[in-house]
């Protein structure tokens, strides 16, 4: 067994696992563990008795305040402190062997002495030792025979032996048949139910199935049929590759060293690259210019159109004005003609005009208004003439 059982005599209080987090004030400043057998100094610092004894062997000062200190100045700490640390709950040191016990630290000795099932004690049947839990049953040190391989071993070790006994029955994972452990490997290599790959899986057959179905598959497997051809091809390829390699080597030997022929090429390449980039630049420039030219054309067209539209509208307006003026002139001329024609007949006809003017003054004023209107219409007339 890899883990040693701890008994009351081998109990090391410094090596215990505490169930709860222990307050720092209950820990020794030297070992940082809960105080064991606490003592205090005349400068009133508390340590484990072993820790301070060891520390004083090296330096005759108190480790905390560095005041001079002798072993005689160290005495047992107040019982309250001892009780506080002794009541801390710990795991049984045999917990890793399986003991579930937790108890106050000072009760641990009694537990190991009386109760703990995992303490090694004298075997009842022979001179060996055995765990307390096994005392009372038969002696575990007597030799027994393995029921499978007939080898003899101690009863104590039987469990370990059974885990590796070669004669023990194991079950094949494929066909569920039972075989001894030593034969199972050999069986699995021939088991009918074992899942295997096609013999031609090396040339690419993806088939996978129970061994007993293999012969059936092999009959129809295209890869198996082609196998000789594929192998021949593979062989030829291999020889060709070899030959190719040899030839390449020969070429390498025969050809003049390359560097001198390669030297000018990079410069040529460089030159070409330079030219190409320049060309590329020029092309992009050209594209840009074309684009801007097109834009400008459109702008120009828009401007021209706007301008001519405006002009057209103006001309239309003028034409309309001229039409209006012409009509007015026409009308005025008409009225004038009429009045000229009516005058010789007699100015007495007071109801001469259609405007039923009340007096001649009205005619006069009509006559007076005429030049006025003419004057008003003069400028457009002039313009039209222009």
């Amino acid at each position: 067994m890899s883990l040693d059982s701890v008994s009351e005599n081998t109990l090391d209080l410094g090596n215990l696992s505490y169930l709860t987090e222990v307050d720092d004030n209950l820990c020794c400043p030297i070992c940082h563990s809960p105080l064991i057998d606490p003592v205090h100094t005349k400068c009133r610092h508390t340590f484990c008795s072993n820790c301070i004894t060891e520390a004083l062997e090296t330096s005759k000062t108190c480790p905390v305040d560095r005041k001079p200190l002798k072993l005689e100045d160290v005495s047992a700490a107040p019982i309250m402190i001892a009780n506080l640390v002794n009541d801390l709950v710990v795991l049984c040191p045999n917990s890793e062997l399986g003991c579930p016990m937790t108890c106050a630290r000072h009760l641990l000795g009694g537990h190991l002495r009386e109760d703990c099932s995992f303490v090694a004690v004298k075997c009842s049947g022979c001179d060996g030792t055995t765990l307390r839990k096994n005392v009372g049953s038969e002696c575990l040190h007597q030799l027994v025979e393995c029921t499978f391989c007939f080898a003899s071993c101690r009863k104590l070790d039987m469990e370990n032996h059974e885990a590796e006994c070669p004669q023990i029955i194991a079950v094949c994972s494929h066909c569920s048949g039972e075989f001894t452990r030593s034969n199972i490997k050999a069986h699995e290599a021939t088991c009918d139910e074992a899942i295997i790959l096609c013999d031609s899986s090396d040339v690419g057959c993806p088939w996978k199935g129970a061994r007993k179905e293999l012969s059936e598959h092999t009959r129809v497997c295209a890869f198996t049929l082609l196998r000789p051809v594929l192998h021949a091809h593979a062989n030829r390829l291999a020889t060709l590759e070899l030959e190719n390699k040899a030839l390449r080597k020969k070429i390498d030997i025969l050809l003049p060293p390359r560097p001198p022929t390669e030297v000018p090429t990079p410069s040529f390449d460089e030159h070409t690259i330079q030219l190409l980039t320049e060309q590329e630049h020029l092309r992009s420039d050209l594209e840009r210019l074309t684009a801007s030219l097109g834009e400008m054309e459109i702008q120009q067209g828009m401007l021209l159109m706007n301008e001519s539209l405006r002009m057209k509208e103006e001309v239309a307006g003028l034409r309309a004005a001229i039409g209006g003026i012409r009509m007015q002139i026409h009308w005025l001329m008409n009225t004038r003609h009429q009045s000229v024609e009516q005058r010789p007949v007699g100015g007495a006809s007071s109801s001469s005009g259609p405007q039923n003017s009340p007096a001649q003054g009205g005619n006069l004023s009509g006559g007076g208004a005429l030049p006025n209107i003419r004057r008003m219409t003069e400028p457009p007339n002039d313009r039209v003439k222009l």
Binding site: I30, C31, H32, S33, A55, T58, P63
Partner: protein, 153 residues
């Protein structure tokens, strides 16, 4: 065994947290650990730099002091200090058993002491006789006997 248990406790405390400017680099066994320290204030001598300390524990730790010295590594140099030799040896009474060392000290407290020793320094110099010292000592730190005469550190 005793020193391993104590170091185990220190390690679990370190994993819970360290003071600012102190970092654990490696603690793969209970013989040697590496720690990084930075000086946190604006001391121009050490500003923005990190230094690596190597701790060597004897089986008698913490009764016996650990061997502590600066080591070089990538991006880690030996700090300039009138009590630190150019091979990384630190002249500090705290680190000498029988002098300033006390078993109450821990890796963390030693790091803090050295950190404050750097913080308080203003001299950009090595100890007197650094060259000869470096030639003479081939890492047998235990045999070095310092005379602690400078009360300012």
């Amino acid at each position: 065994m005793f020193h391993a248990k104590r170091l185990q406790k220190e390690l679990s405390k370190i994993h819970q947290g360290l003071p600012p400017g102190i970092h654990l680099v490696a603690a793969n066994d209970f013989q040697e650990w590496q720690m990084d320290i930075e000086v946190l204030d604006e001391n121009p001598l050490y500003h923005g730099k990190t230094y690596r300390l190597n701790f060597k524990f004897s089986s008698n730790y913490p009764i016996e002091a650990p061997e502590v010295m600066f080591i070089r590594a990538t991006d880690r140099d030996i700090p300039m200090h009138p009590h630190i030799y150019s091979n990384g040896v630190i002249c500090l009474d705290l680190l000498s058993s029988g002098n300033g060392w006390s078993p109450v000290q821990s890796v963390e407290s030693v790091c803090m002491s050295i950190q404050s020793m750097l913080t308080g320094n203003t001299k950009n110099e090595r100890p007197e006789g650094d060259d000869q010292f470096v030639l003479r000592t081939n890492r047998s730190l235990r045999n070095i006997r310092f005379v602690y005469d400078d009360p300012t550190v």
